[in-house]
Symmetry: C2
Subunit: 323 residues, 2 copies
């Protein structure tokens, strides 16, 4: 993995992937006690940054491979990203999703023309095993959600935009807070910033109980989470950092920040009130770190990625009625 | 009023006003039965396009006038736009707002450092009279919400961006649906498009019972609304098109479209689900016209301005729980 792969991905996705704006709010600066720049990838096609990686990966396939089709396993955002990229690029797509994925993610993935196969998150075959087996049986190319170079490169294009847009706003030294599941977005952004804005340092943010990356960065080796589910941040509940992403994280990313679920709901309400964007719980976790865990941050400014907005209305109503 | 004034405004606001993206959704295209491009000015500073006109007007004042201060009357979005522009430009600001304005608009305007004076929308002195009297008594410059050339020019910068961004997406012939109160945004966009994208035709959109512009365009003279309030679209309930805006609307804008309040709530829910942006009722009315009143539209594509997102949480919850 290197910056050239990210630049190549940027070339493939140009004109298709949306360049999301960089948002600011004096009200949020005040809560955070420092300047906060926010990159709302919830405004990306399919409602999350995952479309970048999905399009990057499917567009990198040769024609014959692409026409045979692709398979992805995902809690929902990678599913939609790959499904929509496949639709645009004419590739049949099979998506393996957990039964308890948010209804909107299941429905959208189907509506984008993908064949959806559900599995039970607890017990039974792991999604990796199920996905790998199905891909082999059907002759499909597996597009892994994070441990796949073209996916990491696609997510890294977010970092190229962050470097440019932060500089436009006068910010060249900052902590960049990124929600972290398997590390595809975090690692991709870190690689892009290493090349384009070396004084922007990436800090992974995870939910309490799913701090595998924070612990792995401390121990220097891949650590696992104890449970497969149990946080509202469904988008970022991966068992452990990836084999391809972890070396990037270890080399480039600062200490992790761990945030309770409740703070994610509170940050969703602030994003609603102050930014007018819809964030899902895992998508708001980096904003929550900026707003409510500033004691873990030393830089004068932070850049926050709001990674997705695919939230069921009932949960969103809960967030904005309580905070 | 002419395109040179809009270009001059674009120069004054450059680097301060946010260039909002142009959003699309295959799901919304399907509902509308045609391609829909959406310009989310709810993502603008202060949560609505009004910051463009406010900054344009306050930045056009000479230093001495600006230092004496400005006064604005507004249901809330112009209030916030002028208040924040004044704060950035160092001008004291007095804002006259109706007692029944949404709580978030009142609170934000105060938080931006403005002095807020409330008045009763029903009975008593009109807001124009009150505003004019107070401005005179205190030596402040009145920044009218729409019948003011520098304000119209500022709102028109939205049109410059629409022309560019629509062309980037391959749309050069379309109806441009714009929510219409006094006509500042509608007129400004129409002037910008006349010069930059003459096959994009502006269609004003208004709530049922407040269709003064639609009726004025039919009769060819300024018509009034019967009631001062009574629609949830608080941002666009003005008594009549302005004396400066109406000649522009009459010369450049196609027939008006009139939309029931209920459809605005429904469009807010779609903007939440599909675009991940927060729209207020008046801000969603043009989207409602595109989605549910397509029989009034002939073009293959429409451009929709989502003009603001300053909505109280209870009303937003209502919209996303019902639709």
């Amino acid at each position: 993995m290197n910056i050239e792969m990210i630049e190549a991905a940027a070339g493939r996705i140009a004109g298709v992937v949306r360049r999301t704006p960089m948002l600011t709010s004096p009200f949020l600066d005040e809560i955070a006690g420092r300047r906060v720049l926010m990159k709302p990838e919830c405004l990306q096609h399919t409602g999350s940054f995952k479309f970048r990686g999905g399009y990057s990966a499917v567009s990198a396939l040769d024609d014959e491979t692409r026409e045979r089709g692709v398979l992805a396993f995902s809690s929902g955002n990678h599913a939609q990203g790959v499904a929509w990229a496949s639709k645009l690029l004419g590739a049949p797509a099979v998506i393996v999703m957990p039964l308890d994925a948010p209804a909107i993610k299941l429905a959208n993935t189907k509506a984008m023309g993908a064949e959806v196969i559900t599995y039970d998150r607890i017990g039974g075959e792991s999604r990796e095993d199920l996905g790998t087996r199905l891909a082999k049986e059907r002759g499909l190319t597996l597009i892994r959600p994070y441990d796949e170079p073209h996916v990491i490169a696609g997510q890294g294009t977010t970092g190229l935009e962050i470097a440019e847009q932060s500089a436009d706003l006068g910010v060249t030294q900052a902590d960049v807070l990124v929600c972290c599941g398997g590390g595809g977005l975090t690692g991709g952004i870190a690689l892009a910033l290493e090349a384009e804005a070396p004084d922007l340092r990436v800090r992974p943010v995870e939910p309490v109980g799913f701090d595998d990356v924070a612990r792995s960065l401390i121990s220097g080796q891949i650590e696992n989470n104890n449970a497969p589910s149990g946080s509202i941040c469904d988008a970022i509940l991966t068992p452990a950092p990836g084999k391809k992403t972890f070396p990037i994280l270890r080399r480039l990313c600062g200490p992790g920040i761990v945030v309770p679920d409740e703070d994610c709901l509170r940050a969703m309400a602030e994003a609603f009130n102050r930014l007018k964007v819809v964030a899902e719980p895992g998508g708001a976790i980096a904003l929550a770190a900026a707003l409510y865990h500033g004691d873990k941050i030393e830089s004068d400014a932070v850049v926050v990625v709001i990674s997705g907005g695919n939230v069921d209305p009932a949960q969103f109503r809960d967030a904005i009625s309580r905070f």
